[in-house]
């Protein structure tokens, strides 16, 4: 019996396939927000053909099945259907020679990704790996990774970060969000990636009265923290009540390829009512061009240019947009209200949870505070000292982010902005595994401070300056040599100036 089908892509055909496999009516499928979202997403990805791979055994669903569905009175299927999407139109007569290596056609570049369809009545989207939005110039998906696919011997690959819909039984939104975050941290920090059911178990094991393990109705921040500790990472919580804090934090950690879970309250802003709390994984962001001051101050961060977040929202789809367009610190969402209108449901951010490697000890706020003070000092100088030229040191834009030693040195090696001697000094300098980088830029002048992200807060975290610009380097040294260090309130800033004294 033939185990696969090839169907021309259209949202109707996609619904028909799922309807045939899961015995769900097409009308109820079309009510699902995921289907509405996928229709527009597949249009962006230019999907043309679906290959339906039947009786697919999915690791994560198998875990969920063994933990819950296998013991149900009603028999649930053990196997799933995997749908592969291609941006090339083909049929069986052209596909079979490709499978048997008798065709010149190469499908590798046309592979858009796959969706595992779980054999459940409502929550059908299992592991889903789809290409990101095109035009990566302004969009940044820093921790997408290749997912290898073997389709009847045909080796394919898609760069993505896996997504799945919660089934509301073994996992709620928070478990799905953590599962997606672990897809990135598992590779980055070398830990095993538990299935949603294992995440829920680890999260709730120490909270016997909080709610039932299964069916699970949600996790709180403490439970999410337990799930993160269970894989050997440290959960780091940030209060996400301010746009600029969310942008700065997202940018700072995602540059180091670290994902994060965003928890927020969903509200219908037209009716003025709260709907409930929801958690998503932040998987990317989009940068604009207009710079704006951090919390309304004339302190300019590159991260403040972020206009949108891309999130794996288990109730919407992968890489769903959330836009910083509202003045009241709420993000737009793709959620529908009860009249199926998209645009009235907004998210009021509450927390960000970042799963960190235990050696990343210095939090972002320490570095941000140091840079805020350096920036303030530049402004004081500009206001009080009449320069003979036009270098506006009060207009500096700061790019602050976490980076691995390896990524930093690879970038320095290829940089055309440092002379050979300075490059060699920086490259051959021993560095910790993770560093904080604060790069100040004004026009074509640039200076960089690097800090040890693995030290303790009272330690000597400043490592060195990277002297891209002689002007700014000389200015920093002049400040260090003439400032009264005893007047400096910040211990870390005082340590920087002591280190720079020559």
């Amino acid at each position: 019996m033939c185990q696969y089908r090839i169907v021309d892509y259209s949202i109707d055909n996609l619904c028909q396939i799922i309807s045939d496999e899961n015995r769900i009516s097409i009308s109820s499928l079309k009510q699902k927000l995921h289907i509405v979202y996928l229709e527009s997403y597949f249009n962006e990805l230019n999907a043309k053909t679906i290959v339906v791979e039947k009786d697919y055994i999915d690791k994560d669903y198998s875990e969920d099945y063994a933990a819950y569905y296998a013991r149900s009175f009603k028999p649930y299927k053990r196997t799933c259907v995997r749908l592969h999407f291609f941006s090339r139109r083909f049929d069986k007569s052209s596909f079979e020679p490709i499978l048997t290596n008798n065709s010149e056609i190469e499908l590798t570049n046309d592979y858009v990704g796959f969706i595992v369809v779980k054999p459940l009545p409502q929550t059908i989207l299992g592991r889903t790996c789809l290409r990101t939005y095109p035009n990566v110039g302004a969009r940044f998906f820093n921790f997408i990774r290749p997912y290898k696919v073997n389709l009847y011997g045909l080796e394919l690959s898609v760069d993505s970060i896996a997504y799945q819909e919660q089934d509301s039984i073994v996992a709620a939104c928070a478990s799905s969000a953590i599962w997606s975050a672990f897809q990135a941290t598992g590779l980055l920090f070398q830990h095993s990636i538990p299935s949603p059911v294992e995440i829920t178990k680890a999260a709730t094991i120490h909270f016997p009265y909080a709610n039932r393990h299964f069916p699970n109705k949600g996790l709180n921040s403490e439970q999410m923290a337990h799930a993160i500790r269970n894989v050997g990472l440290d959960p780091f919580l940030i209060t996400a009540v301010n746009y600029d804090i969310i942008k700065a934090t997202t940018y700072a950690y995602q540059r180091a390829k670290i994902p994060m879970v965003l928890g927020f309250m969903l509200s219908n802003f037209v009716k003025g009512i709260d709907i409930g709390r929801h958690a998503v994984t932040i998987t990317g962001y989009r940068m604009g061009v207009n710079r704006s001051g951090f919390v309304g101050q004339d302190f300019y961060l590159k991260s403040s240019k972020i206009e949108k977040l891309y999130c794996h929202d288990d109730q919407v789809g992968p890489f769903a947009r959330m836009e910083f367009s509202r003045a009241d610190n709420r993000l737009t969402t793709s959620w529908m209200d009860e009249s199926k209108y998209i645009g009235n449901i907004v998210a009021k951010p509450e927390i960000i949870i970042i799963p960190l490697y235990h050696k990343i000890r210095i939090p972002f706020e320490i570095i941000l505070n140091i840079v805020y003070r350096i920036d303030g000092l530049f402004k004081l100088i500009k206001t009080n000292v009449a320069f003979n030229n036009g270098l506006n040191i009060n207009e500096i834009e700061w790019d602050i982010f976490l980076n691995s030693n390896n990524d930093f040195k690879s970038e320095i090696r290829l940089s055309g902005e440092l002379n050979e001697a300075d490059k060699l000094v920086v490259l051959t300098n021993g560095l910790p595994k993770y560093i904080w980088r604060a790069i100040g830029s004004i026009d074509d002048e640039k200076i960089e401070f690097i800090f040890d992200a693995t030290d303790i807060e009272q330690g000597e975290i400043f490592i060195r300056l990277v002297p891209y610009s002689q002007n700014l380097t000389l200015l920093m040294k002049t400040i260090a040599n003439n400032i009264n260090i005893d007047d400096i309130e910040s211990i870390q800033l005082a340590k920087i100036f002591r280190a720079l004294r020559s």
């Binding site: 109705k217 509450e350 805020y372 030229n389 026009d443 200015l475 003439n482 009264n484």
Partner: protein, 65 residues
């Protein structure tokens, strides 16, 4: 070369040794602890320093949707 030829941008931006000297003299002449209040906004500093402070009650809110 004519007298109204634009000055090279590099030259325009360079901080001269005279500028650096002025910076040094000014820094020596001031009490920084008095001056910092002019550029450090206490609310912004409080916001930065309080980023990772979480209200314990907030830890109990379940994320359920």
């Amino acid at each position: 070369m004519t007298c109204d030829m634009p000055v090279e941008p590099e030259e325009q931006k360079k901080i001269s040794s005279e500028d650096l000297q002025k910076v040094g003299e000014w820094l020596k002449s001031i009490d920084l602890s008095q001056e910092r209040a002019k550029v450090i906004d206490p609310d912004t500093e409080k916001l930065i320093n309080g980023m990772s402070f979480i209200d314990p009650g907030q830890l109990k809110h379940p994320y359920t949707l």
